[in-house]
């Protein structure tokens, strides 16, 4: 089911998070020097980089993260937008606006509505589209996703999905249909907490979700994105497990690029309050830590974050950003229709965000793939 599940079990036994508190600034400095001089470092070093000791060295971490990002990605930021297909959901995730128990206006876009929104986004230069849906296969089945991909692939060089876990065959059908990237967050790697925040519905199956990125990579997605929902538990511990997950995927599925997102919980229907809020400073430390250990990973920051923070993270590890996002199905056509998954924080338009990126000395990249590669 999931090769990484065995590693989770072994990590639970060895508890690498216990090393966090004991790290000294001297140990962190030594690691930074090692990385600065071209040395390799793996996920077993994550406790040092997320430690309180490392937070005192955030400035040198940031300098190094920026230099590594420039070498690998240049002065560029990839641009994308999410397109929500449906907010119907059979799950009851405590933190999510789409929770089945929330009394919200539900909607599933048909192919025509999806296409109309896609045209609008295409008009804003966007070339990378992320199709998002709640978990409700009767509303959004593989067939709808396949059909949507065939409608859109002539317009968008790159199509990604962020939907409920599929089996490998389902993912292979979507790859065949022209979807090249998969995003699926484990939300939390802590099994007990996972069971608590996902009390019912298919998402309660931890192992099935954990295996999804592996099945997607095996099915041929060019990019596989993972993440932990920040605010559910201690971000430092999550970072360690997430780093092991990224390293595992890179090693086992060497043809797929790993992407890591850093979604902090936002206010949503249901009113869930994060028990472990992550500060801006902590978020920056986490992003820098991932860049130092994963020089080649795509690091993604969405409009969940405030404009001022996003502006300052351009080139500082982050290589991919969404802009002008709506998080409700049909949201680009009708602002006051269905309920969004969460409140967008950075509400600027695509053009405004692109202008900000240029003003900060980076080139917004709209196209980084070509349909011509495919059959």
């Amino acid at each position: 089911m999931s090769g990484f599940y065995q590693i989770i079990e072994s990590l639970e036994g060895s508890r690498p998070q216990n090393r966090i508190a004991d790290c000294t600034t001297g140990q962190v400095k030594a690691l930074l020097d090692h990385i600065r001089t071209g040395g390799q470092a793996g996920p077993e070093e994550m406790p040092r980089l997320v430690s309180p000791a490392a937070s005192e060295l955030l400035e040198p971490m940031a300098q190094l993260a920026r230099a590594i990002t420039a070498r690998r990605f240049g002065k560029t930021i990839q641009m994308y937008a999410p397109l929500y297909i449906s907010n119907h959901c059979t799950n009851s995730c405590l933190y999510c606006g789409f929770n089945i128990h929330n009394q919200i206006v539900r909607r599933t876009s048909g192919r025509e509505e999806i296409l109309a929104q896609a045209r609008l986004l295409k008009g804003r230069h966007l070339g990378q589209l992320l199709l998002v849906s709640g978990e409700c296969p009767s509303q959004v089945g593989v067939e709808l996703l396949e059909g949507t991909a065939s409608d859109l692939k002539g317009m968008f060089p790159s199509l990604a999905i962020e939907v409920y876990p599929l089996d490998q065959e389902g993912y292979a059908r979507l790859v065949q249909a022209g979807i090249d990237s998969l995003t699926i967050y484990q939300e939390t790697y802590d099994r007990k907490l996972y069971a608590h925040v996902h009390p019912a519905g298919p998402k309660a199956d931890y192992r099935n979700r954990l295996g999804a990125p592996e099945r997607g990579a095996a099915a041929g997605f060019r990019q596989v994105g993972i993440g932990a929902l920040l605010g559910l538990t201690d971000w430092r511990t999550e970072s360690i497990y997430l780093a092991h997950h990224a390293a595992y995927l890179s090693r086992q599925y060497w043809r797929s690029q790993v992407a890591v997102s850093f979604p902090r919980l936002r206010p949503a229907a249901g009113g869930y309050q994060p028990e472990f809020p992550v500060s801006d400073r902590e978020l920056v430390q986490m992003i820098c830590a991932f860049r130092l250990l994963f020089p080649d990973a795509s690091l993604v920051l969405s409009t969940r974050e405030p404009a001022q923070l996003r502006d300052n993270l351009v080139g500082l590890g982050i290589t991919k950003m969404s802009a002008g996002s709506k998080t409700a199905p049909g949201g680009y056509l009708d602002e006051h229709g269905a309920e969004g998954q969460f409140d967008v924080f950075d509400g600027r338009s695509v053009e405004e965000v692109a202008g900000m990126i240029r003003a900060r000395g980076c080139d917004p990249v709209w196209k980084d793939w070509d349909r011509g590669f495919e059959g």
Binding site: R71, G74, R222, W254, R255, D370, G372
Partner: protein, 260 residues
């Protein structure tokens, strides 16, 4: 005296004015890229087909490159196998008439190292179809010979992984490639400083390709100029006849003088 650098560089029968080739990725804007190309003096510039709309002359990047002046060398970076590389090359030629091609088959997204098996397969097909193929390869002398046998117009061995700036870590293999080459050898990838360029020429390379080192410099235009000067300096030094290295001081009286 080594006459190699005094003669013009010729690839596929075409005389190329500059031994410095430039990449166009990773710049902070298309305008900065254009200024850096100008300062570099390069004639051959590569463009990633994945990044541009190759049928569209208004494309942000293509529109900045005067094709009367520069020879556009589209690359297939991102192709995961021979089939993908061949497909995109054909489409780009059909749309834009480009028949020179930097063949890159890089299925591994991290170090972007080239797949030798798929590169050879693609080269064999593309050469037969009339493309001028310059393959990006690891510094593997036997692969370089196989690609020459397949009809490639040059070979482009890497110094170190793309974007690493680590310089030439494959020097001994590149020397063998140069020694056995029947086509120009272009050292590509990993060249982070002008001194790395000088080393490439000292190893016997015919040309170099630089991208990240210029694009991510604080002043890309000044850095492009400095790479041009490094190429000129290396060429002049090689033409001037370097002294060579000696491991120990030479004896003041000849050791074989007694034979006279």
């Amino acid at each position: 005296m080594d006459e190699r650098m005094a003669k013009p560089l010729v690839i596929a029968g075409r005389e190329i004015k500059s031994r410095l080739m430039m990449g166009t990725g990773k710049f902070s804007s298309p305008q900065v890229m254009a200024e850096a190309l100008e300062a570099s003096g390069a004639e051959i510039v590569t463009v990633a087909l994945r990044r541009v709309e190759f049928g569209n002359p208004q494309d942000d990047i293509i529109s900045q490159i005067d094709q009367q002046r520069y020879l556009l060398l589209p690359n297939t970076s991102g192709a995961r196998d021979a089939q993908e590389a061949v497909r995109i090359a054909r489409l780009a030629r059909a749309a834009s008439g480009w028949d020179w091609l930097k063949l890159e088959v890089t299925p591994e997204p991290n170090y972007l190292l080239p797949d030798p098996i798929e590169t050879l397969k693609a080269a064999e097909i593309l050469v037969k179809e009339g493309f001028v193929v310059l393959p990006y390869i690891n510094a593997d002398p036997v692969l370089a010979k196989r690609l020459q046998d397949a009809g490639c117009a040059a070979v482009m061995p890497l110094g170190s992984p793309i974007g690493s700036g680590r310089g030439i870590k494959t020097a001994e293999q590149i020397e063998i490639i140069v020694q056995q080459a029947t086509v120009p050898v272009v050292v590509d990838a990993g060249l982070g400083l002008p001194s790395h360029v000088c080393q490439a020429f000292e190893l016997g390379a015919d040309a170099v390709l630089v991208n990240t080192a210029v694009a991510v410099a604080q002043d890309p235009v000044a850095m492009a100029r400095s790479f041009r000067l490094a190429v000129e300096s290396a060429a002049e030094a090689i033409a001037a006849g370097p002294m060579g290295q000696s491991g120990a001081a030479s004896a003041s009286s000849p050791l074989t003088g007694f034979l006279r």
